[in-house]
């Protein structure tokens, strides 16, 4: 309030010499230090909680274990061999982690998109129904992550409905299991990260102008063509955000693999890092794995963004 008054007073008092336009004044203000001061808090948080830990991690990953040292005893060094060792031992796990995350992302997209479409487009204008469905979709995620994952063990158990049905229709052999399989891990990942896929797509489709769908139909496009030519392209920013928000945490997740997997062929990299760190007490190895994971995800995301994202849509 006061500032507006002051500003207008100042403008009046600028006098005849000061004939600069508002734009010029804004430009001058931009050049000043105000902007710089404003980003300091954000930068400080980033430095403290992101940059510093990453540096610590990087340093730790190069520590060496002196001969005859006790378990968990390391000394600062530049032991690049740590990286070679963990990559040699775990490259398959990396590959599997990204594969699982990719499958879960695609599955979450295939499940989440129709759900988002139903709520945002089909139920447009029916706010009560929209509200109920959104709550139903999101409410489970107010409960514990671990508990929900544990519940999947029950769902996929040998006595559970899924196995019974799959055995009955002979998709699963009579002695087949779903628990402790890669399938179960991917199911868990898909389920747990579904809201991260659905909500950005929902937010996007909620703004979709349905006049465009009518226009498309008016221009001889069947409903299916309309979806692929109009709806889907327009919702790509939501799909893009959703896939990133699903893939990144899924790739580094270890809860699903730990609870729903086995210890032979479903290990994900998060699990390995966890056991290296807390069980084997191999801090440099765990740090090197974490660092590699971060860099790999960053690289994959960069390629993805370069390929699909930031394209000017409108």
């Amino acid at each position: 309030m006061t500032s507006t008054v002051e500003r207008s007073r100042r403008r009046k008092n600028r006098g005849p010499q000061d004939l600069r336009s508002e734009e010029e004044l804004v430009a001058e203000r931009r050049k000043g230090r105000v902007g710089l001061y404003l980003i300091i808090p954000g930068m400080a948080v980033l430095a403290l909680f992101f940059a510093a830990p990453v540096m610590v991690l990087l340093g730790m990953s190069l520590y060496a274990r002196p001969p005859g040292a006790e378990i968990g005893e390391f000394v600062p060094a530049l032991e690049f061999g740590n990286y070679a060792t963990v990559v040699g031992a775990y490259w398959e796990v990396f590959l599997r982690s990204f594969l699982f995350a990719l499958i879960a992302t695609v599955a979450a997209l295939l499940i989440g998109y129709p759900m988002a479409y139903l709520v945002a487009v089909r139920l447009r204008g029916r706010q009560l129904m929209q509200g109920i469905l959104l709550v139903l979709l999101i409410a489970p995620f107010f409960s514990s992550f671990i508990l929900r994952t544990q519940a999947w063990k029950q769902i996929l158990s040998d006595e559970g409905p899924v196995v019974t049905v799959l055995r009955a229709i002979a998709i699963l052999p009579a002695d087949g299991h779903l628990t402790a399989t890669a399938f179960a891990v991917v199911c868990g990942l898909t389920y747990n990260f579904l809201p991260f896929m659905m909500l950005p797509i929902y937010a996007n489709l909620d703004r979709l102008d349905t006049n465009l769908l009518e226009a498309s139909g008016d221009l001889y496009a069947s409903p299916l063509t309309t979806f692929f030519k109009v709806t889907l392209p327009l919702s790509m920013p939501g799909v893009f955000a959703g896939t990133l928000l699903t893939f990144i945490p899924a790739a580094g997740d270890y809860v699903n693999a730990a609870l729903l997997g086995n210890n032979r062929d479903t290990a994900m990299i998060g699990q390995i890092i966890d056991s290296r760190f807390f069980k084997v007490v191999d801090y440099p190895g765990a740090s090197a794995l974490s660092f590699i994971l971060m860099v790999l995800i960053l690289a994959l995301v960069m390629i993805y963004i370069k390929r699909f994202g930031t394209k000017e849509l409108f």
Partner: protein
């Protein structure tokens, strides 16, 4: 110069004449409200047809049913003699220019215009889309996205996108509603000339009576889901048949009274003690209660000392308000027993009457029109 115009002419849609559109007993009910009520209507091919009415009169619903975006509750719609009532919109040879334009924001202007042709798998869709853009003089903006265009340009893209498909019937849903006055007038002229050129059947929905009258060959005035009256703009204006049409299409002075004399070709009506004459062929009823109507511009405003034809209808009243607009002076005149009448006199150099003056208003009986005696004289006055 010559070459461009040749290309242009060849590329333009041929003057195919569109198709007849026929609506038979079409009704559309939404849960608690009848939007369109037993509408029967035939639009001959090649006509520029306007559906005119206030908001909520059912004109847009009618248009959407023709487009296939809405299903009629009952009745049939046929295009070129073929029943299309059950056909979904994408299978109808009908295109719409939407009020909001509904251009695809993720496509270039050219892709927008080529969209319909590509769906129909027309071979030279891009070339034809370019030609259509030339027709609306936007070929230089083909590579832009719709958001980068002005409102008027978007409007022309929407028109090109619909026209390029050479639909049997082109539907225009208040297509000029979002444009400013000047652009509106310009686009009205352009639309009319394009329609004449391509010879397609245009159905134009609007609530702007001036727009409907300047552009359409036939105007149907809609009110409460029904067509009140339909005809050439001039016929509608000169001889409205209902109070709604008389008031919505221009202004009218409507005076209720009762028929007292049969004069052969005309009847005399007693309106609050005044004897007003109207021809029988311009009157809905010839006996009993009747409403006499006259358009404000058909009346002459005279001083009490001026002479006037003895056969003319004449009313005397007091000027309540006189506003000088340059071309004319508009008056509101209070006539005892009848109420306030509107009239104006063209600026021929005479001194305008002033507020409080007593004036005489006269008009030839042939300018009178007669409505049903039960007509509500204010109906349609405030409709927008």
């Amino acid at each position: 110069m010559t070459t461009t115009s040749t290309i242009k002419d060849e590329a333009r849609p041929k003057a195919s004449s569109g198709a007849d559109l026929h609506l038979a007993n079409v009704t559309k009910r939404f849960s608690d409200f009848t939007a369109v009520d037993d509408l029967t209507l035939t639009v001959p091919s090649g006509t520029f047809f306007a559906l005119l009415g206030p908001s909520g009169c059912g004109k847009t619903t009618t248009l959407r049913m023709i487009a296939g975006l809405e299903q009629p509750t009952s009745g049939t719609i046929s295009i070129g003699g073929k029943d299309v009532t059950k056909l979904p919109s994408f299978q109808r040879q009908v295109n719409t220019v939407f009020q909001s334009y509904a251009l695809f924001p993720h496509m270039t202007v050219l892709d927008n215009v080529a969209f319909g042709l590509k769906r129909k798998r027309v071979g030279d869709s891009v070339a034809r889309a370019k030609a259509a853009l030339e027709m609306v003089e936007l070929q230089h903006l083909a590579a832009r996205k719709p958001m980068q265009l002005s409102g008027g340009q978007q409007q022309r893209v929407a028109l090109a996108r619909a026209l390029v498909n050479r639909p049997a019937v082109l539907l225009l849903d208040e297509p000029l509603g979002a444009l400013d006055m000047k652009l509106r007038r310009q686009m009205q002229v352009e639309l009319k000339s394009i329609q004449t050129e391509v010879g397609l059947t245009f159905i134009h929905v609007t609530h702007d009576q001036e727009e409907a009258m300047t552009m359409a060959d036939t105007v149907a005035v809609m009110n409460k889901g029904k067509i009140e009256q339909m005809g050439a703009p001039r016929d509608l204006y000169e001889l409205p048949r209902t109070a709604f049409v008389a008031n919505f299409l221009g202004k009218s002075n409507l005076m209720p009274g009762s028929v007292t004399e049969d004069l052969g070709n005309a009847v005399a009506v007693d309106v609050a003690g005044h004897r007003l004459v109207m021809p029988k062929d311009r009157a809905v009823s010839h006996s009993g209660a009747a409403v006499v109507g006259v358009r404000p511009e058909k009346m002459r405003v005279l001083n009490l000392s001026d002479e006037y034809s003895p056969s003319a209808n004449m009313l005397t009243g007091t000027v309540l308000d006189a506003s000088f607009t340059g071309v004319s002076t508009e008056y509101l005149v209070e006539v005892p027993g009848i109420g306030t009448l509107a009239t104006f006199s063209q600026n021929m150099g005479q001194a305008p009457a002033r507020r409080g003056d007593t004036v005489r208003m006269t008009w030839e009986p042939d300018f009178s029109f007669g409505l049903d005696g039960s007509a509500k004289t204010t109906e349609g006055q405030d409709a927008v």
